[in-house]
Amino acid sequence: MADGALPGGPASEPPGERCPSGIEALDNILGGGFPRGHLVLVAGSVGTGKTTLTLEFLVRGAERGERSLFLSVTEASSKLRQNLSTFEFFRPELVSSGRLVFVDIPVVYEKLGLDHEELTLEEIDLLIRAIQGLVTELKISRLVIDSLTSVCYRIRREERIRDFMLKLSQVLADLNCTTLLVSEIGQASGRFSLHGVEEAIVDGVILLGNTRRQGDIIRVLQIIKMRGTSHSRAQYVVELTPIGLLMAPHLKGGRQEGM
């Protein structure tokens, strides 16, 4: 595990400053990046680039010397690492040096015996403590949970999800850990999370989607909310390229339709 931050990393930033995503256009919209220590929902339907965006956020952070943790629920982390290797911005030494860490949440479930189909209150607290423990032990300053939807699927009850989100938010804010939570939503769900309570508690919501323009399907990104940030709510066209996520303003000419 690498020690400390690289020059120019977060150690040189005053507290309360920005946590740059490393995606230039996104950082420009956000005034330099996510507010550090905030909890941000990255919502979108299948194939809109949620996982890619969050992975790039971690990789760019690891490059800056920030320790970054990807908690994978839905996909085996070994497969994610394989996919990541196809991007030019990824360097394997980020993983071997311990700056970019992957943990499979199902393994955490297994180790802690969280095997009820619906997690009990005690089990929810154990899960939060486990996340808190990993972030503390590894000195993580960037965290991704992919996906929050899968975690909440096992919490089920809205009041418990609210409690889980509030505690998670508090714990991660205390640790000054900037966190992206992936939220899987339907194409026309009208909300940004499984139960709707998640989006009310988080500090920010980024919406990714597909839209049709002149016969093509294009990816779009929109910042719905970001506390403490004055930002545009315009839609941006997103391109997933080997060098990372590229964004450009979505020109409104032509007929378009949300998907």
């Binding site: 499979d104 393994v107 802690l112 423990g133």
Partner: protein, 261 residues
Amino acid sequence: MGKLAGDVVLGIPELDRDLTASLPPGWLGLLVGSAGSATSLFAKQFAHAGLGSSPVLYYSVYESTSDVERAFHDFGWDPSGLKIFNLAEEYYQKVLLRDLEISRLRERGLSYGEVAGVPVSVSNPRTFNLTSRLLADLAALDSPFRLVLDSLDFLLEILEPEAVLTVARQIRHRAQTLGGMALLSIQGDIHERRTTGLLEDMADLVIELQALPQAGGYEHRIAVSKIRNHPERSRIASAQVTGSGFGLLDAPVGATSPPSR
């Protein structure tokens, strides 16, 4: 006791004559007893009686393999050929040991070293499907067999009664299909009456063991309280346990009322 073969049922000649004439080729027996009534010894004698003439499966829940073998030797029985399975040990390894580890991690917290590089399991490692475990062994049999499960108490401790009844039904069906003999032991006074009643109803043979305190020791009684379709052959007999296992004393105690549970 020497080697037994042929139509020997229990290894107690006085009882075997009646049982051989009464029971179908494949049957399920229930051995009911209380602590100290020597159900485990009786079960071993039954298992021994089948050695040499059919595969004998011995499922133990409290005794280790070496304990079972030692008991066989103590009574002059050769355990060679006996297939011994320790269900409690398997349960301990697959469930209880993991529970200990889970408790430790829950109390002390999970460290990265404990989850780093651990592959995701497809199945829940704490699940010990006892039903599947037993049925897989039964399914592998293709000829008459002898089976001992000592005891159902353990199954009733970790499974719902309906699941235990299902296991018993499966064993009975397999015994009927292949001409097997299966003896399941159970303590008669610790389970819900409904469960023991359904097990007794399902069984073709019900044997109850009793140890009555007497001056200087215990008087053992064996009650054959049910032989399917042959109530006239039910009986209670005084028994003794010698260096060669259970044997009957001279005259039957009676032929009507089984010992109270």
